[in-house]
């Protein structure tokens, strides 16, 4: 087995590819750094010179609006030059290979690649081939990982609940296809969360999901009982086309978050969602906009977390 490709010889973050395998203290220091950037994002002049003169390439092989935008904002607040490449509609359709695309951008003096790709593991392949001074941040690969989302989820939980060591967290919905769920699960278990639950029908839970250190519930009411944090996952509409689910209506009835089901969680429970939300499919509007929801603060924290990660991998 190769050594962890995201850490350098001193155990410092060189790339961010996955939360899995990051030591607890590295996770902690990312969250602490993010906290220091929250202040910056609230100032009138929202810029620090940490990445001044560096070029950040947003390499999105899959369409994304929110993640790409928050990475762009984060990079600009660190004073980097940002180049957005929407590759889903450019060179890949002309038959250029992933590594050729990266090599070409590297020739344009890139410092940091922010990569989203539909295939699990694609950022690992890129990280194996970049030059020593170049860095890779995974902005979502297939079903595998979305580490900055996981980190902003952890940041949000820490912000509202402080201590992970007493928490019970429920992750609800399409865990099978969710890179968000995998990243969050690794983060929560690394930080010592005693109870992580996944809730969903068997068709949307991956084989052997227990091996990730979670408890499995098929009954949402049972699964939500007494939890501190509820994380709802996005359900893609194409899931209804295969044999995974019969209909959005039936899914919502059993696995949609309503005020009535949320009442089973702790009275001060928070509700999170990585976005974009499907109201009426996985979450009811009254909950999404209700007092337990921290969905919009998640987005704000997301910028600080991405600034933290970018400054740690590519800052001097």
């Amino acid at each position: 087995m190769q050594s962890n490709p995201q850490l350098n010889a001193n155990g410092e973050l060189r790339h961010l590819l996955s939360i899995e395998g990051l030591p607890r203290d590295v996770l902690g220091s990312i969250l602490d750094t993010a906290a220091s950037f929250v202040g910056v994002t609230e100032r009138e002049v929202k810029k620090v010179p940490i990445l001044r003169g560096k070029s950040v390439f947003n390499l999105f092989f899959e369409p994304s609006t929110r993640t790409r935008t928050t990475f762009e904002i984060a990079a600009k607040r660190l004073s980097a030059d940002v180049i957005n490449l929407n590759i889903a509609v450019s060179s890949q359709t002309k038959g250029e290979s992933l590594l050729d695309t990266v090599a070409n951008l590297s020739a344009m003096q890139a410092d940091l690649f922010v990569v989203r790709h539909g295939s699990s593991g694609a950022p690992y392949l890129i990280a194996q081939h970049v030059k020593p001074h170049e860095h890779v941040i995974n902005a979502g690969d297939g079903r595998h990982a979305h580490p900055t989302q996981g980190l902003l989820d952890l940041y949000t939980i820490r912000h509202y609940k402080q201590d992970f060591s007493r928490l019970s967290v429920a992750i609800v919905g399409d865990v099978l296809h969710s890179r968000v769920a995998r990243s969050l699960i690794h983060g929560l278990t690394t930080l010592g969360t005693p109870e992580v639950r996944v809730i969903g029908p068997q068709t949307l839970l991956p084989t052997g999901v227990e091996s990730l250190g979670v408890r499995v519930f098929h009954d949402m009411r049972e699964g939500l009982r007494g939890v501190d944090v509820v994380v709802m996952l996005r359900l893609q509409s194409e899931r209804m086309r295969g044999a995974l689910l019969p209909s959005a209506q039936e899914f919502f009835k059993h696995y949609g978050l309503t005020a009535e089901k949320l009442a089973l969680a702790k009275p001060d429970a928070i509700v999170m969602h990585p976005g974009p939300m499907n109201r009426g499919v996985e979450i009811d509007s009254s909950v999404a906009d209700g007092p337990h929801s921290v969905i919009l603060p998640q987005v704000t924290f997301g910028i600080a977390v991405r600034m933290a990660v970018m400054s740690m991998v590519a800052g001097n």
Binding site: Q2, P5, S119, S120, G121, L125, D141, L212
Partner: protein, 421 residues
């Protein structure tokens, strides 16, 4: 040419012979004593002299995929690996579904005068799983068996008819058991590792369900079926029972599968993207054990040269397969050493056993048998490196590994076709 190989440790797995001695060759065949003086003497002191290896699955990539490999490069790789006979699956482009194609392949191979090539014909036209090929014609052109390679045959009525038709002529059918629908879209063993890496899985029951269907059809038709590339513990158990029942089945396992498991995927090592997928350590141990106790008859390299560009891709997009002709011997020796088997027992899995399945006279040192011989140093170490592999495919999960077992001489029909000091 009359050749005398002397001073070597002669191992003939078929007869159990394992002693320092001589092997005499005249007119391309093994003989008890040379008629007259040898024209060449090979001193095999410190080396093992064994029947040339027989590989039941090696893709030569001709016709159609010459950019991945050519007949010449792969035949070079074969003899450098001590492989003197190989069966090639029909998944070329076009597939081996017409006598003319088979004939051409055989003639091209013959001109190169290296390993013996035994084409396996397509069971269905274009391997599409719909219409039967002209099996009798293909057999006349030189096909030794019929197969779908890795192409699905999901219509079980076609499968049934194909087995009946093959049984009519006594042709063996070689099939890999995999339910096409259950395997659809999968790229790794459906288990903890695939879950962690976010890779779509192929469950082990995709193999056992298809195997159940095949065994039931063998029971109904009496067709001789060879099951290719077992991958799961459940399948080993089913074959064990089928053999105990007396069904006419045999089976093989790819040499990678007795050494590697899905854990070896590491950080998406596309060299471990194989068909069938590497499964759990428990499956690997069951395959290794099944091979040792004879449930699994033999090992094959399942040699599949893949262009490096097709491996330098995200795991799921990478082309499956590994190069294997030159690693079959060292990886088999490594397996035998791990099981603490006598060398003759180990070598049986790549000589006399595949010879029996192929129905050929080679793979043994009986007088009159074809003089296909490998002479190797079982302890000589070497490092697996792209530069030293003769195959055009450098794609192996064992790149950088130290393995033992180097081929010094390979003879086919009494002709030295490979020599390395």
């Amino acid at each position: 040419m009359k050749i005398l190989i002397r001073n070597g440790r002669v191992i003939d797995p078929a007869s159990g012979r394992d002693a320092i001695g001589e092997v005499a060759i005249a007119d391309g065949r093994i003989c008890e004593a040379l008629p007259g003086k040898p024209e060449r003497v090979i001193d095999a002191k410190g080396l093992v002299v064994a029947p040339g290896l027989i590989d039941l699955s090696a893709r030569l990539r001709e016709p159609g995929f010459e950019y991945k490999a050519t007949l010449e490069s792969e035949m070079d790789a074969a003899v450098a690996g001590g492989v003197t006979s190989l069966a090639c699956p029909p998944d070329t482009d076009p597939p081996l579904d017409e006598p003319g194609l088979v004939d051409m392949l055989r003639r091209r191979a013959k001109v190169l005068t290296r390993a013996r090539v035994y084409p396996v014909g397509a069971l269905t036209v274009q391997l599409a799983g719909e219409r039967l090929t002209e099996m009798a014609e293909l057999a006349e052109a030189g096909c030794v068996a019929f197969s779908q390679a890795n192409a699905p045959l999901s219509d079980s009525q076609v499968l049934w008819r194909a087995l009946q038709y093959a049984a009519t002529f006594g042709f063996p059918v070689w099939l890999r058991a995999e339910d096409h629908w259950l395997a659809r879209g999968g790229v790794a063993h459906d288990g903890d590792v695939a879950t962690r890496l976010g890779l779509p899985g192929i469950p082990a029951f995709a193999e056992t369900i298809a195997l159940g269907t095949l065994l039931e059809l063998v029971r109904a038709t009496g067709t001789r079926v060879h099951l290719c590339r077992l991958s799961s513990a459940g399948a080993v158990e089913m074959i064990r029972e089928a053999k105990a029942e007396g069904l006419p089945v045999s089976c093989d396992v790819g040499v990678h599968y007795v050494h590697l498991s899905d854990m070896d995927l590491g950080y998406y090592d596309s060299h471990c993207r194989l068909t069938p997928p590497l499964r759990s350590q428990r499956d690997r141990d069951a395959l290794s054990g099944g091979l040792a106790d004879g449930t699994i008859d033999c090992l094959c390299s399942d040699h599949t040269p893949v262009d490096e560009d097709q491996k330098q891709l995200p795991f799921a997009e990478a082309e499956p397969g590994a190069t294997g002709l030159e690693l079959l011997l060292p990886l088999t020796l490594k397996w035998g050493a791990q099981r603490e088997l006598p060398l003759a027992e180990t070598l049986r899995r790549i000589t006399s056993e595949p010879a029996r399945i192929l129905g050929v006279q080679s793979g043994r040192f009986a007088p009159g048998a074809p003089a296909d011989v490998v002479i190797f140093d079982p302890q000589a170490p070497f490092k697996v490196a792209a530069a030293t592999l003769r195959s055009q495919g450098k794609n192996t999960p064992f790149l950088g590994y130290e393995l033992e077992g180097r081929v010094r001489f390979t003879l086919v029909a009494g002709n030295p076709v490979f020599e390395q000091a």
